[in-house]
């Protein structure tokens, strides 16, 4: 976000909050009306509107309710408590980070193998590209349950899902990046009679870095989604996904929204961190600051 867009962004964000509040009133009003009807009282409209903003299980919680819940469950609870969002976020974050790390390493290794082996490039690469078009997340419950059945529990099964999800964008981006040097750059290395390793470390690897970080931004976001979804089938034990599921079981809308807000903050922070590291590495490498993007 540059300076010129600061004011517009603030204004749009403000507009979103205003709309949110008005929806809160509209969506929660029927409940207030029915309460009043049952008790036979006729409270003033203002009282009813005020009440819509402080229901215990609102259809749509007001922003301040969500913020209060987030603050209560992050700062005012011990981090080891099961009611602390920090505890749940930590569980989700650790499995998604482990998976993201494994997926990235695996993706880079496989991309190097694909670039240097024509047989792998022609046999494996089409399947990797095709698998980006299918909803891989659908197998998450099965992997969790099956791994549970053979005794693998805890962090690792969820990390496997995150690894699996972050692995594909990294392979595709890295293969593209390693193949991105121009013909003339490769020819230059040939005139130096550079070895394959020299060409790799001095040319292909540096030119691939912008592509790597672009795909790592996608990978880190999907790895978090993977970890959250992976927490669903084991029956809501711990983690942000579990908070979502438990909230939906018991109609605790405020709990759902606060879990969602925390998940969003984590996702945005992770993507931003990868972006900042990527920009820094690109600058150090003397490459263009802009990462490859756009339609193709």
């Amino acid at each position: 976000m540059n300076k010129s867009s600061f004011f517009p962004v603030m204004l749009v964000a403000f507009a979103i909050i205003v709309v949110w509040y008005s929806f809160t009133v509209v969506m929660n009003l029927p409940w207030e009306k029915s309460v009043a009807e049952r008790s036979g009282t006729t409270p003033s409209t203002m009282t009813m509107i005020r009440n819509t903003l402080q229901q215990e299980r609102p259809v749509l919680p007001a922003p301040h309710q969500v913020v209060t819940e987030v603050i209560n469950t992050t700062f005012k609870k011990k981090v080891t408590s099961k009611r602390s969002l920090v505890y749940h976020a930590g569980i989700t974050l650790s499995s998604s980070m482990l998976g993201f790390f494994m997926g990235t390493v695996l993706g880079i290794v496989l991309a190097v193998a694909i670039v240097y082996n024509e047989a792998l490039n022609k046999s494996l690469m089409p399947w990797i590209i095709a698998s980006q078009t299918i909803p891989i997340l659908a197998i998450a419950p099965m992997i969790i349950v099956v791994l549970n059945a053979i005794g693998v529990q805890g962090l690792l099964p969820k990390a496997f899902i995150s690894m699996y999800l972050s692995f594909f964008p990294v392979v595709v981006g890295m293969v593209k990046g390693l193949n991105s040097p121009d013909r003339s750059y490769l020819d230059l290395m040939r005139t130096y009679h550079a070895s394959a390793a020299q060409t790799f470390f001095k040319l292909r690897l540096p030119t691939s870095l912008p592509y790597l970080f672009t795909s790592m931004k996608i990978a880190v976001a999907t790895s978090l989604v993977g970890a959250i979804v992976a927490e669903l089938p084991t029956g809501a034990v711990a983690g942000l996904g579990a908070r979502l599921l438990a909230g939906s079981y018991y109609g605790q809308t405020i709990q759902i929204w606060s879990a969602l807000v925390v998940a969003s903050i984590i996702a945005a922070t992770l993507v931003m961190l990868v972006g900042i590291i990527g920009d820094w590495v690109n600058r150090r490498m003397g490459l263009a600051q802009s990462t490859p993007s756009g339609a193709h």
Binding site: S5, S123, P135, V145, I228, W257, A295
Partner: protein, 382 residues
């Protein structure tokens, strides 16, 4: 255009010369390995005839290397498929397949690997031939993956709840077309398609509406970019509470997931036309709508199709995952989560196969439409 480009020929020859030594070494190693494993299976207990057959195949393929890649590829490819067929036919007959059996599996697999290496190393300038190779190689790879999966699960007696053999999944697939079709209808035809159309449509229309207001664009774009990175599937429980268990709540999740990528891409696409193109429209004194329809929308098409492609996968994920939070007793996500609970893993795999086929066909259809509409784009020109 493709047949007589001297640079391509030059590069192909050059690359061949550089890698030839490595290939020959690799090839010999693969075939020696296949031969050794074939012979080993003779010493340990195994099918005598098959072991001999494998060893013989390896030797003749070894002899054929210096004559023709195609001959070697045919020998190893057909040989590996034949031996795999024999292995598959008696894998159940052996109660606990012994060393010899696995030696033969390894030998047969090494032959297949050799075949892929050979096919991948063939340099051709004929376009049809090259396309055929580009299809044949991954297909061969996929077939061998299935063969190994089948042999390993059945040979090692892997419990069905862990990983069912492909043949069992196929059986389940054929047995339950009604369930699969009903799930497909519920999840894909209703939730995915309707949500996708509404989400993409809304994103596109909002992008056009804010097109004339740079202020709104500067405000909405960073927020849109941010939201695109968030775990939006998390809104699923809320949507289920608001819109009930049936497909409308899933369609709502899909709408939210597909809206932002479409908005961001369309806005970016509408500003893709260059300054000179804008000046040209200005010299014609073209109005806003004229330059929108004649210049900026065509220029934005690659971006819009990019969003359509990203969204096709997102829509499938959104609809399936949203079903984990509650559905009527039908739907692909519902089926996956309940059958996993009942340990009917073969049904889960059948459902995943449907999801995979539906997802790639959906994506393929959009990619094909894209080629029709953006044939002029540098990435599509032939």
């Amino acid at each position: 255009m493709a047949s007589a480009n001297p640079e391509i020929i030059h590069r192909a020859l050059e690359k061949g010369a550089v890698t030839a030594v490595r290939y020959r070494f690799m090839e010999r190693l693969l075939l020696v390995g296949a031969g050794v494993f074939g012979l080993l299976s003779l010493v340990t207990e195994g099918r005598l005839l098959l072991g001999l057959c494998l060893a013989l195949l390896s030797v003749s393929a070894y002899r054929s290397i210096k004559h023709s890649r195609l001959l070697t590829a045919a020998l190893t490819g057909l040989g590996s498929l034949f031996t795999a067929y024999v292995l598959l036919s008696f894998v159940d007959a052996v109660d606990n397949p012994a060393q010899g059996f696995w030696f033969q599996v390894i030998a047969s697999w090494l032959l297949a690997w050799m075949c892929v290496e050979q096919l991948a190393a063939i340099k051709t300038l004929s376009r049809i031939y090259a396309t055929a190779l580009n299809i044949l190689i991954p297909v061969l790879f996929g077939v061998w993956l299935l063969i190994l999966w089948e042999l390993l699960t059945r040979g090692f007696n892997v419990p069905q709840v862990l990983l069912p053999a492909p043949s069992l999944i196929a059986e389940r697939f054929v047995e339950s077309p009604h369930i699969l079709w009903a799930d497909f209808q519920q999840t894909f035809l209703k939730a995915v398609l309707i949500g996708y159309a509404l989400g993409c449509g809304a994103g596109f229309i909002i992008a056009i509406l804010i097109d004339r207001s740079p202020f709104l664009q500067r405000g909405l774009l960073p927020i849109g970019n941010l939201v695109s990175a968030l775990p939006i599937v998390g809104v699923a429980p809320i949507m289920v509470m608001w819109f009930g268990f049936d497909w409308p709540s899933k369609a709502a999740v899909v709408i939210i997931m597909t809206f932002f990528p479409m908005l961001v891409n369309t806005v970016a696409g509408l500003s893709a036309a260059g300054a000179m193109q804008h000046d040209l429209m200005k010299t014609y004194a073209a109005g806003y709508w004229q330059s929108l329809f004649k210049l900026r929308l065509p220029e934005a098409l690659p971006f819009i199709f990019n969003a359509l492609k990203i969204n096709s996968t997102l829509a499938m994920i959104g609809a399936i995952v949203a079903e984990f939070f509650g559905t009527p007793t039908v739907g692909m996500g519902f089926r996956i989560s309940t059958e996993v609970g009942r340990m009917n893993v073969d049904m889960v795999w059948a459902e995943i196969a449907v999801a995979a086929v539906a997802g790639s066909l959906f994506y393929g259809a959009i990619a094909l439409t894209e080629r029709v509409f953006t044939f002029w784009h540098p990435s599509n020109r032939s």
